[in-house]
Amino acid sequence: MKQFINALLLFLIMPLLLPQNAASAETPEEKGLAIAMEADRQDNGFNDYTSDMLMILKNKHGKESNRKIRINALEVENDGDKSLTIFDNPRDVKGTAFLNYTHKIGDDDQWLYMPALKRVKRISSRNKSGSFMGSEFSYEDISSQEVEKYTYQWIRDEEYEGQQCFVVNFYPVDKKNSGYTRQLNWIDKKEYRPLKTEFFDKKKSHLKTLTFSGYRIYLDKYWRADKLHMINHQNGKSTILEFSSYKFRTGLKATDFNKNSLKRAR
C-alpha cells in the first residue's frame, strides 16, 4: 500500500514546466509521460515513512469488516520501493506480515510470513489482479506506482471537485498480467496529486473507481491522502482505506526490510 501512496505521490508533483512548450508539437503521449514524471519527481527524497491503515471492507449488502494494518516503507534509489506490511486485526491474522520489493521493470519480489508456523513463504507476484486481503484493491493497486510500469496519454484538462486537473490515461506495460486495459486518472495541476482513478477491465468496461480525499502535506513536500475509497461497480463491493500517524524519515534502513526483519515484525 505504500505503493499506491507512492503512486499518488508520483502524480502529485509535476508543476508547470510544460507551459512554454505546451503550444508546440507535444503529443498527448509525451504530455502524459511528462505529467507522470513530474509527479514522480516531486515525491523523490522522502527516504522512508511509517503509517497506520484501517481497511474497511463492505460487501454489496452493506456488511462491514475491518482490518488494521501498519506500513513501513523505504525509498530505494534507481528501483521501486521496499515495504513491510504488518497485520494487527482481525486477531486471527495478527502477526502476519508481507514484505515487498517493488521493481521498476519486471515482477516484484514478495514474501509472506505466517506466524503460527513461523514460516516465510515466497509468493508469486506475476498476476497483479488478485485481491489484496479480500479487499477491492488488487496487488497492482497497492504496488508502488513506478513511472516505468505504464505508458501514458494525456486526454484533456478538466475541473474536478473545484480543482483544475489533467486527465491522463495510464496503460499498463505488463498487459498480460495486469487486471486492467487502462486507468483514467484525474491529477491536480497545482500539486500533481491523484484525485480520482477509474479502472477499466480486460473487456474495457468500467470496473472500479478510486477517489482520494483529505490530502495533507508532510515535511512541506510530500502529499498523502487520509482516505482512499475504492468502489467496484461490477460486484457492488467497496473498500475504504483510512491512513493515520504518517511519520517521515524515521530512520528505517534496508536491514529493516529483509526476511529476518519480516520474521520479527509484530
Binding site: D92, D109, N127, S129, S138
Partner: protein, 410 residues
C-alpha cells in the same frame, strides 16, 4: 516440557509453568519506558467425530478437547524483546493428548547485522506443503495433529548473522524434546501403544545433549535457498518392542545420534513456484537420501470472480524404501487451495496422497472462515481410502474423521 497434566507438574516450583510464571512476573514488573506489553493469543474448542468403530479396545467414537495458547510479548527500546507462548490442551479421551508445553519463552536482541535469541523457541525450515522433510530444530508434537505441523518448544541459543552475501544461523540446542504420541485411548495411533515414559537414547547425555546446527540461506533474484548441517539427537525415533510392568506390549522410542545435511530451494517463475527439499542423514541404520519436490501454480482472480485457486503437485522419495519411517517412501501428492477473498476470509485446502509403492491413499481437507473479528471456525477431515497391512497407515484404516474447531482470538 511436554508434561501430561496429570503428573502434578503445575504445583511444582521447578516445573516449566513455575518458571514461566516467574519470568512473566519479572518482565511484566520491569519498569519500561516504552509500555510495549502485549497480551494476545487464542482459545479453541474442538470436537472430533470418527466415522467407524475403533480397531483397538478403549478407543472412542468421538473426542472433545479444549486448548489455550496465550502470547505475552514485551519490547524494550534498542531492539530487546521477550516473548512467552505457553500452550495447554485438555482432551476428553486421551490422557497423553492433555498436555502442557512452552511453545516459546525467548529473549531476543535484534540489530542491523545480527540477532541473538536465547530461550525456548521455534524455527521452521522448508518450502513444500505436504511433507516437512528438512525441518529439524523443533520436535513434532504429533499428538496435536497427524500432519506433523505442530511443534514443541525447543531450548536454544540462536545467533543469526545477516550480511549482503546471505544469512548464517548458528544453533546450540542444549535440551532434547521427545516426540509426543497418542496414548492407549487415543485414535490415530499404531496398534501397539508408544510408551513415552520409557525412552532410550544412543547418547549417554540422554535428554541433555549439546546438539548443534548451522545454516546458510540467501535470496538471489527469483531464488530462495538454504543449506544446513545438523549434528545431534535425531528427532525421529526408532522403536523397540518391550513388555511393560503390566505385561502389555509397548513400543519404546529410541533416539539415535545423527548427522544430517539438508537443502531447501524455492524458485518463482511467473505464476509458478518450484520447490525442493532434500536431506542426507547418517547415524540411523544405513545412511540415506530423501527428497520432496514439486510446484504450486495459482490461478488468480478466476474468471474475474475474485477467487484464487492454487494447485499443488509434489513427489516425495526416501531411499530407505519400505524401511522408511515417515511413510513418504515414494508418494505423489496433489492438492488444491481455494481462497474466496471474502469478508470472512473463507479458504479451503484439500489434498490427496498416493503411495506409489503400495495401494495406500489418504485424503485430507481443511477449511476455515472468520465469524467475527475475534471468532473463527475451522473444519478438518481425514480419510484413508485404501491401505494394506504393509502400509504405515494401515492401523489408521478405521480412523476417518471429521473435526470442527471454534477459535476465540484475543
Amino acid at each position: 516440557m511436554s508434561i501430561p497434566i496429570n503428573r502434578s507438574a503445575i504445583t511444582s516450583a521447578k516445573s516449566p509453568i513455575g518458571i514461566l510464571l516467574l519470568i512473566l512476573f519479572l518482565f511484566a514488573a520491569y519498569p519500561s519506558r516504552v509500555p510495549a506489553f502485549e497480551l494476545t493469543g487464542h482459545l479453541a474448542a474442538e470436537e472430533k467425530l470418527f466415522f467407524n468403530d475403533p480397531l483397538f479396545s478403549r478407543q472412542q467414537r468421538s473426542a472433545a478437547s479444549f486448548a489455550a495458547q496465550p502470547e505475552f510479548y514485551h519490547e524494550w527500546e534498542n531492539g530487546f524483546s521477550i516473548l512467552a507462548t505457553p500452550f495447554l490442551r485438555i482432551d476428553s479421551v486421551d490422557a497423553e493428548r492433555s498436555h502442557f508445553d512452552i511453545r516459546e519463552l525467548i529473549f531476543q536482541s535484534a540489530h542491523d547485522t545480527w540477532e541473538l535469541r536465547i530461550g525456548i523457541g521455534k524455527v521452521f525450515w522448508g518450502v513444500t506443503e505436504f511433507v516437512h522433510l528438512v525441518d529439524i530444530i523443533n520436535q513434532t508434537d504429533l499428538i496435536e495433529h497427524i500432519d506433523g505441523e505442530e511443534k514443541l518448544g525447543q531450548p536454544m541459543a540462536h545467533l543469526s548473522v545477516v550480511q549482503n552475501w546471505g544469512v548464517v544461523d548458528l544453533f546450540v540446542l542444549p535440551f532434547f524434546r521427545e516426540r509426543t504420541f497418542p496414548g492407549r485411548r487415543g485414535r490415530l495411533r499404531s496398534r501397539i501403544v508408544v510408551d513415552t515414559d520409557h525412552v532410550k537414547y544412543e547418547s549417554g547425555a540422554k535428554q541433555h545433549p549439546i546438539d548443534l546446527a548451522i545454516r546458510y540461506s540467501h535470496t538471489l533474484g527469483d531464488w530462495d535457498f538454504g543449506i544446513y548441517h545438523f549434528a545431534g539427537t535425531g528427532r525421529e525415533p526408532g522403536f523397540d518392542l518391550k513388555i511393560n510392568s503390566q505385561g502389555r506390549l509397548r513400543l519404546t522410542p529410541y533416539y539415535e545420534q545423527i548427522r544430517q545435511t539438508g537443502l531447501d530451494v524455492q524458485s518463482v517463475y511467473g505464476n509458478w513456484l518450484y520447490k525442493l527439499e532434500a536431506l542426507y542423514r547418517t547415524g540411523q541404520d544405513d545412511s540415506f537420501f530423501a527428497c520432496v519436490g514439486g510446484f504450486e501454480y495459482t490461478f488468480v482472480n478466476m474468471a474475474s470472480s475474485g477467487l484464487d485457486l492454487g494447485l499443488i503437485g509434489e513427489w516425495a522419495y526416501d531411499e530407505r524404501n519400505n524401511k522408511c519411517t515417515t511413510g513418504f517412501d515414494n508418494d505423489v501428492m496433489a492438492g488444491a487451495r481455494l481462497a474466496f477473498n471474502d469478508l470472512a476470509s473463507t479458504e479451503a485446502l484439500a489434498g490427496i496422497i498416493q503411495d506409489m509403492n503400495s495401494t495406500a491413499t489418504t485424503f485430507s481437507l481443511e477449511a476455515s472462515r472468520r465469524l467475527s473479528s475475534h471468532w473463527k471456525i475451522s473444519i478438518n477431515a481425514f480419510f484413508v481410502f485404501k491401505s494394506s497391512d504393509s502400509d504405515i497407515i494401515y492401523d489408521l484404516r478405521n480412523d476417518d474423521y471429521f473435526q470442527i474447531e471454534l477459535f476465540y482470538y484475543f
